[in-house]
C-alpha cells in the first residue's frame, strides 16, 4: 500500500531507534529514571504495541497511555443512557462498531440487541440519516461519539438533516474535546509527565495551536504525530530533542496531513452545530469543565437527550452510575496504572467478559496489551 509501507520500513526504524537511544543517553534517561511520554491517543497506544515499539525503544523511554479513546472515557452512566434509548419502542439505535460491546451497568448495546432492541452498526452518521429517510415511522438515533476527529461528521449530518427537515433523526451527543482532560492531567500533582505525543487526526481538524497552553503554561513539549510506526518513533525523538535542548514547544511531525490551523470547513461546521457543555463526565476523571459538546438550541430538534428526556436533559437530573467493583479502567486510562497491573486483567476482565471499556474498545489500552501480547508474551 503506497504511502503506508514507507512509514513501516524496518531499516529506517533502526536509524530512528539509534537516534532515540543517543538522545535518551544524553538526557541521562534510564529504566530507573525514565522520560515519561504520554501518547494521548488510543490509536497510538495500539500502534506502539502492534509494532512492539515499547520493547524496541531505549529503556529510558516510558510510554504512558493517555485518555484518548472516546469509547473508553465514556462513563457507564452514558452507556446505560444509550441502552435506555435503544430499548424504547420504535427506536432504531445506530452506533459505530466500537461501542457495541462496551459494558454498561445493565449490559452492552449488543446485549440490548439480543434482548430485542433494534441496534445497528453503521459506518458513518450519514448512513444513520439514510436509515431515518427510509424508515419514516421509526425514530433513528445515532450514538455520537468521539473527539474532534468525528465531531465534524456528525455536525455535517445534523446540518443535512435540518436542511431536509428530517423529523425522525437525532444524535445522542457524547462528543468531547482533547485539550481539557490534558489540562486536568497536568494539574494532577501525582502525574509526572515529561512530554506528549499528540493525536494527528484531531489536529487535522483543530490544528496544533489549541495545545499551546501545554508548552506555555506547563513547560512541556508536545509533538503532533501520525499513526505509523516511523511517525511515532520520529515524534518520540522530537520530544526527546526538545527536552535535551531545554525547549518546550508544540511541534508538528504529521505535517503531511495536519495543517497548522486545522480544517476551517470542519471547524465552522462544529461551531455552527455544537457549543461547550458547562461540564461533562469522564470515566476515571469525573466531571471536567468545558470538556464536552452539546447541540446548540437552533438544532435542538436533533438532540436525542432533549427528545427522549434523558441524560443531561433528564428532568430528574442525572445520577452517575458507579464503576463496577474492582474495575481500574479510570486509573489505567489516566496513566496511573499499567493494564497488566490491574488485578482484574486477564482474570475477571477479558475481551469475552469485559468489566470495563478499555478491554473491548479498538483503542483501549487493555485491548492493546491483550491483543498484541504485552504480558502474555512476556511469560514465554
Amino acid at each position: 500500500m503506497k504511502y503506508v509501507e514507507e512509514f513501516r520500513d524496518p531499516s529506517k526504524a533502526h536509524a530512528l531507534l539509534a537516534a532515540i537511544a543517543r538522545a535518551a543517553d544524553a538526557i541521562g534517561a534510564s529504566a530507573e529514571n525514565p522520560i515519561r511520554i504520554m501518547e494521548i491517543c488510543g490509536g497510538h497506544t495500539h500502534a506502539i504495541f502492534r509494532y512492539g515499539l515499547d520493547k524496541l525503544v531505549h529503556e529510558g523511554v516510558e510510554f504512558i497511555h493517555g485518555p484518548g479513546c472516546p469509547v473508553c472515557v465514556l462513563p457507564m452512566t452514558r452507556v446505560d443512557e444509550a441502552v435506555e434509548i435503544a430499548r424504547r419502542p420504535g427506536v432504531i439505535f445506530t452506533s459505530f462498531g466500537d461501542a457495541m460491546r462496551v459494558p454498561g451497568s445493565k449490559g452492552s448495546l449488543l446485549q440490548a440487541k439480543a434482548g430485542g432492541a433494534d441496534v445497528r452498526t453503521v459506518y458513518s452518521p450519514l448512513d444513520a440519516l439514510e436509515l431515518a429517510r427510509r424508515n419514516p415511522d421509526k425514530e433513528v438515533v445515532f450514538f455520537g461519539l468521539g473527539f474532534e476527529t468525528t465531531t465534524p461528521s456528525t455536525a455535517l449530518t445534523i446540518q443535512v438533516a435540518a436542511r431536509e427537515q428530517i423529523p425522525n433523526f437525532t444524535i445522542f451527543c457524547n462528543h468531547i474535546t482533547v485539550p481539557p482532560p490534558i489540562k486536568a492531567l497536568l494539574d494532577d500533582p501525582y502525574m509526572q509527565l515529561d512530554g506528549f505525543v499528540g493525536p494527528g487526526h484531531v489536529s487535522m481538524v483543530i490544528g496544533i495551536h489549541p495545545y499551546d497552553f501545554i508548552a506555555r503554561d506547563y513547560g512541556k513539549p508536545l509533538v503532533v504525530a501520525g499513526f505509523e510506526p516511523l511517525d511515532l518513533l520520529q515524534s518520540v525523538l522530537m520530544v526527546l530533542e526538545q527536552i535535551r535542548t531545554g525547549r518546550a514547544e508544540i511541534e508538528n511531525q504529521y505535517a503531511r496531513v495536519v495543517p497548522e490551523h486545522g480544517n476551517p470547513v470542519s471547524i465552522a461546521a462544529m461551531a455552527d452545530v455544537y457549543e461547550e457543555r458547562p461540564s461533562f463526565e469522564w470515566r476515571g476523571l469525573g466531571e471536567i469543565d468545558a470538556s464536552g459538546l452539546r447541540i446548540r438550541d437552533k438544532y435542538l430538534a436533533y438532540d436525542a437527550e432533549t427528545k427522549f428526556g434523558i441524560g443531561y436533559a433528564a428532568s430528574t437530573g442525572r445520577t452517575p452510575v458507579p464503576e463496577p467493583e474492582g474495575c481500574a479502567c479510570g486509573k489505567v486510562m489516566t496513566g496511573r496504572m499499567k493494564p497488566t497491573a490491574c488485578p482484574q486483567f486477564g482474570r475477571g476482565c477479558t475481551p469475552d467478559t469485559p468489566l470495563g471499556a478499555l478491554m473491548v474498545s479498538s483503542e483501549g489500552a487493555c485491548a492493546a496489551y491483550w491483543t498484541y501480547g504485552g504480558a502474555r508474551l512476556a511469560a514465554e
Binding site: 524496541l56 491483543t371 508474551l377
Partner: protein, 347 residues
C-alpha cells in the same frame, strides 16, 4: 429436455406459503427447481447409495454437515448455493475423504424470487459437477416473510477415506511447516464490500471453491501431510489456534510471508480489521513435514486453486501462546482466537 427449455408450470414469480404446503404448488416447485436440475436416481424419499467404495479393507466413511447463511445471497465470485457445495465438499476433503454424495435442505423465505432460487440451484449443480459429487437427496421448507433471510441451505456430505489415510491436527509435530493454498481474506472482504453499506467498490471476488482436487494432488506428492483445515469462519487465526491446541504445539507465523491482496489489506487498514480473522471459503492451511514441503507446494502450484500457495510459518515446541506472529517490523505478537465478531472502528 432440460429445465430451461421446458415451459414453466410455476405460476408465481415469488415463493408463497403454498410452495411449502404439501400440495400441487410444492410438487411443481420441487420438480421444476430442484429435481429437474439435480436429477436424483430415485423418486423415493431417500438416496440409495452403493457401498462399493467401502469394499476395500480399511476404507472409512466420512460424514459431515454444515448450514449456510449469507447476505447477500449472490456476491462476486459465488452465491449461497456454490458456498453450500464447496463448504461441505471441503469439510470432507480436509479430513482426507474423497467426497461422493451430498444432501441439500432448503429453508426458503416467503417472497424469495423463484428466478433467484433457480440461479442458486443451477450454481449448486455446476459446483457439484466441478467437485465430482452428486446431490442425491434434499428437502424444502417455506417460512413466512420475516422468519428467514431469503434462503438458508444445509448440506450434508458423505465421502470415503482410502485405507491408510489418517489426517488429523493431533499429528502435527514441532518442525512441520504450515502452507496455505492461496491469498487470505478474499471471501470476507468481498462479502463486506458486497453488502454495500461501506460504499467501497472493489474488484475482489470470493475465493469460494472446492478443494478436494487440490488435496488429492498434495497427498499424492506429499503423503506425509499431517493435517489440513479450511480457514472459514474466524479466518486463518481461529483455524490455526484450534489446530495448535489439538496438536499441543505453538504455530509461529511470519507476517511478511502472509499472502494478501493489496485490496484486502487496504480495506482492513481503513476499517481497522485484521485480515487474519476474515473468512475464507476456498483457502486451507496444511501442515507437512519440512522435507515434503517443496513437493506439496509444487503440487499445489500445478492446480488452479493452489497457484498462490506458499509457506507461512511452522510448528514449534509448545509455549504458553498457541499462535504467534513475527511482524515485518521485527517484533512478535500474539494471534488470538477471534473475540465475538470483528467490528469496524470509529476513527
Amino acid at each position: 429436455m432440460n429445465a430451461e427449455t421446458k415451459p414453466s408450470r410455476l405460476r408465481d414469480t415469488r415463493i408463497t406459503m403454498a410452495h411449502g404446503g404439501g400440495g400441487r404448488a410444492m410438487r411443481d416447485l420441487i420438480e421444476e427447481v430442484f429435481t429437474d436440475v439435480f436429477r436424483p436416481d430415485s423418486d423415493e424419499d431417500q438416496a440409495r447409495l452403493s457401498a462399493e467404495a467401502l469394499r476395500e479393507p480399511g476404507a472409512r466413511l466420512a460424514f459431515t454437515t454444515d448450514s449456510f447463511v449469507v447476505t447477500p445471497l449472490e456476491f462476486p465470485g459465488g452465491d449461497i448455493g456454490k458456498l453450500a457445495v464447496c463448504g461441505t465438499v471441503n469439510d470432507l476433503a480436509v479430513g482426507g475423504a474423497q467426497p461422493l454424495w451430498l444432501s441439500a435442505a432448503f429453508i426458503i423465505e416467503e417472497g424469495t424470487e423463484i428466478a433467484q432460487l433457480k440461479r442458486i440451484v443451477a450454481s449448486m449443480a455446476r459446483e457439484a459437477a466441478i467437485a465430482g459429487v452428486r446431490i442425491v437427496t434434499g428437502d424444502t421448507k417455506v417460512v413466512g416473510r420475516g422468519s428467514g433471510d431469503g434462503v438458508f441451505i444445509t448440506t450434508s456430505g458423505v465421502g470415503v477415506i482410502p485405507p491408510g489415510r489418517d489426517m488429523a491436527a493431533r499429528h502435527i509435530r514441532p518442525g512441520d511447516v504450515a502452507l496455505v493454498n492461496g491469498v487470505l481474506g478474499d471471501h470476507g472482504a468481498t462479502i463486506l464490500a458486497a453488502r454495500g453499506d461501506l460504499a467501497l467498490s472493489s474488484p475482489l471476488q470470493s475465493d469460494c471453491q472446492s478443494l478436494n482436487g487440490l488435496i488429492e494432488a498434495v497427498l499424492a506428492a506429499a503423503p506425509g501431510t499431517r493435517a489440513a483445515r479450511d480457514a472459514t469462519r474466524g479466518g486463518l487465526a481461529s483455524c490455526l489456534n484450534e489446530m495448535a491446541m489439538s496438536a499441543g504445539v505453538t504455530v509461529a507465523l511470519d507476517e511478511a510471508a502472509l499472502p494478501l491482496r493489496p485490496e484486502v489489506r487496504g480495506m482492513c487498514e481503513i476499517l481497522g480489521l485484521d485480515p487474519l480473522y476474515l473468512a475464507n471459503e476456498g483457502t486451507l492451511v496444511l501442515f507437512v513435514p519440512e522435507d515434503q514441503a517443496g513437493a506439496a507446494l509444487a503440487a499445489m502450484h500445478a492446480t488452479e486453486a493452489g497457484r498462490d500457495a506458499c509457506l507461512i510459518g511452522r510448528a514449534v515446541e509448545k509455549g504458553t501462546i498457541p499462535v504467534t506472529l513475527r511482524t515485518a517490523f521485527g517484533g512478535t505478537r500474539i494471534v488470538d482466537m477471534l473475540v465475538g465478531e470483528q467490528l469496524p472502528r470509529i476513527c
